[in-house]
């Protein structure tokens, strides 16, 4: 069992090539001096990042308002999602780990639910429910409630519906490891309840809070299924990419993808580092 055969080793090698081939292709062709994201190789260029459109007739990512706007929209969604996921996830984790009440096991089970619901179904159910809510409230209040209609606020809610489960699980796992006598010790030494929370409990949780925030940020940035159903006229990055991929795009999409990979790689390594520090 411990002596791998040559065939096995070759299979492993082939597998990792298979794993990275698509990503490498995407990255390489971001620098191809061609108006199309396909071979042959026509030389190296940064035009698809910074070009103004003078060379190929289409601008690079960093000067194209469509790409810039969708990156902006993605941030407008991801930042609130991450902040809410951390804050509400902490409260939920507290409920799971520190509060005893009847029906807690049911609640804990329900918190896992969103993970087994297909993203598309989450999207349409939230869309349908909030439309009904908007119709009812608008009739009653006689005003327009646009934030309940497809658009970025609804995307935030839709993504939050399942990202909260993840952040709750991450934070609860850390809270479970907390030695309660640390809190008692701080309280015993004269700290107020608020001070105990600020100086002892939250610092202990902070790796999990950062981790949960980064995971939420990533998941929000990359979510497609749920977002697709709830999006209005302001498209976040994955929606714009999807549209361009259907219509046929310039290598600018490769450039965006490469930037995304770099950003994700950065966040992932921060996450890996905090996870290591936790141990």
């Amino acid at each position: 069992m411990n002596r791998p055969t040559l065939a096995w080793k070759l299979y492993i090698a082939a597998f990792y090539i298979f794993l990275f081939a698509p990503l490498l292709i995407v990255a390489i062709f971001a620098f191809n001096a061609s108006p199309f994201p396909s071979p042959p190789w026509r030389g190296f260029t940064l035009e698809w990042f910074t070009g103004s459109g003078a060379v190929f007739g289409k601008p690079g990512v960093l000067t194209d308002s469509i790409w810039l706007a969708s990156i902006g929209n993605s941030f407008k969604v991801a930042v609130p999602v991450a902040l809410l996921a951390v804050f509400l996830g902490t409260v939920n984790a507290w409920v799971l780990e520190r509060v005893e009440f009847r029906g807690k096991t049911v609640l804990a089970m329900m918190m896992l639910w969103p993970l087994v619901i297909p993203g598309v179904v989450l999207g349409i159910s939230i869309l349908a429910f909030f439309s009904r809510l908007a119709n009812g409230l608008e009739e009653w209040l006689q005003t327009d409630l646009d934030f309940l209609r497809p658009g970025l606020p609804l995307v935030i809610l839709g993504q939050l519906s399942f990202i909260l489960t993840i952040s709750t699980l991450i934070i609860a796992a850390r809270l479970r490891k907390f030695d309660r006598s640390l809190e008692e010790a701080a309280f015993d030494l004269g700290a107020s309840r608020a001070r105990v929370l600020r100086t002892v409990t939250l610092p202990f949780l902070s790796p999990a809070l950062i981790g949960a925030g980064l995971v939420a940020l990533l998941m929000s940035f990359e979510n497609f299924n749920t977002t697709l159903m709830l999006v209005g006229s302001d498209a976040p990055l994955p929606i714009t990419m999807y549209g361009q991929m259907r219509e046929g795009a310039t290598p600018a999409i490769n450039a965006v993808s490469l930037l995304l990979m770099l950003g994700v790689g950065g966040i992932a390594s921060v996450f890996a580092l905090t996870a290591k520090a936790e141990r």
Binding site: D179, S181, L182, E184, A185, A186, F187, D188, L189, G190, A191, S192, R195, T199, V200, P203, F204
Partner: protein, 369 residues
């Protein structure tokens, strides 16, 4: 410390526990306990796990609330006073050092909670660290300390606040044997230098005996006896204290005759022994310490003793100065354990050798069973 003494109201006791009871449902974890601790005293509560000593300590600290009774510190009732406002600090079983802070920050924590500016608090903390022998450790992570150093940080963190009373919840439990022996002495010395009142709970009778001025033996929510280590050891008030504190031989039998504190106890084998105690009933238990048992190769050497029996060595338990023999004795159900002095003539005795044992009536304490 000097500042402190002037401001403190003169009171003859630091801690008074008055009829304190704590019930969890119908179970009384602490049942009508009353005692007082004098200033500067090292007071231990000794008992098996589950006897209620931890609950009692947590009530003094303010983490639990008594069902009835009163807890007074320097005469002031603590009922309704939260843990963070009591002049009591606790050394936790796990020590509960804050892993996210340095050693210095740990010690300064309580001072800063009182609103002391950071520099002053750190200054005081580093002086306290000097006094417990941790000069220059202020910047270290608490995770980088040895077991004994962590212990001292936990105590320094309490002492820096100059509390009326320091509570210690089995803080030596996690240490290995060698270090534990060393820390017993160190704790006692620390308490002496700071002259602070310590209330210490433990299930380890040796810890309690070595360190304490007075010990309360606790069992099933009640105090069995309160007294100095010597009193408890030599004059146990109850069978529980006799068997829990120190090594002992236990005999069971019936009272045949008693007069003026001296009793004759008949063992099931019919053998009669003589001991001291006042037993109003027939069924009784008796205890004899292994070191009270005299050993001799022949009967005549023991002729002055009221209890004399013969037996055979069934095991030699060699443990240096604590060596002892197990002796299969005629008429006794259990082998008798006796201390074997390593300096004496019997030091080289082997298993199977015939031997005579004897003890005085004073050495055997008899209680109602």
């Amino acid at each position: 410390m000097t500042l402190c003494i002037g401001s403190v109201m003169a009171h003859s006791t630091d801690l008074d526990i008055v009829n304190v009871t704590k019930r969890f449902g119908s179970h009384a974890a602490v049942d009508e306990v009353t005692f007082s601790v004098a200033p500067g005293e090292f007071f231990s509560i000794l008992g098996p796990s589950g006897c209620g000593k931890t609950t009692l300590m947590r009530m003094i600290a303010g983490f639990e609330h008594p069902t009835s009774g009163d807890i007074r510190i320097r005469g002031q009732s603590m009922i309704g006073v939260p843990a963070n406002r009591r002049p009591v600090n606790m050394v936790f079983q796990s020590l509960a050092l804050f892993p996210m802070m340095s050693v210095g920050e740990n010690v300064a924590y309580g001072l800063m909670c009182r609103g002391m500016p950071r520099e002053d608090a750190e200054e005081r903390a580093s002086r306290m660290l000097e006094r417990v022998g941790l000069t220059g450790f202020g910047e270290r992570r608490v995770t980088a300390l040895s077991g004994g150093q962590r212990q001292r940080v936990a105590i320094a963190r309490c002492l820096v606040l100059e509390p009326t009373l320091v509570l210690l919840d089995e803080p030596l439990g996690a240490l290995d044997l060698k270090l534990r022996e060393h820390m017993k002495i160190e704790l006692k010395q620390l308490q002496g230098t700071f002259n602070t009142t310590f209330a210490y709970i433990t299930h380890d009778q040796s810890e309690a005996l070595v360190m304490s001025d007075r010990i309360a033996v606790m069992n099933q929510g009640r105090f069995e006896q309160v007294g100095s280590p010597r009193e408890l050891y030599h004059n146990p008030a109850t069978p529980f204290v006799a068997s829990f504190v120190g090594e002992t031989n236990r005999l069971q039998g019936e009272i045949m005759a008693s007069s003026d504190g001296t009793v004759a106890l008949q063992l099931p084998s019919g053998m009669v022994t003589r001991g001291t105690g006042r037993v109003p009933q027939k069924a009784a238990v008796a205890f004899v310490r292994p070191e009270s048992i005299a050993l001799a190769p022949s009967q005549p050497a023991l002729r002055d003793l009221p209890n004399r029996f013969e037996g055979r060595v069934s095991a030699v338990l060699f443990d240096g100065a604590n060596s002892s023999l197990l002796i299969e004795t005629l008429g006794f159900e259990q082998p008798v354990r006796a201390v074997l002095p390593q300096a004496g003539p019997l030091a080289g005795i082997e298993v199977g050798a015939p031997i005579h044992v004897g003890w005085t009536a004073d050495a055997m304490k008899v209680f109602a069973a």
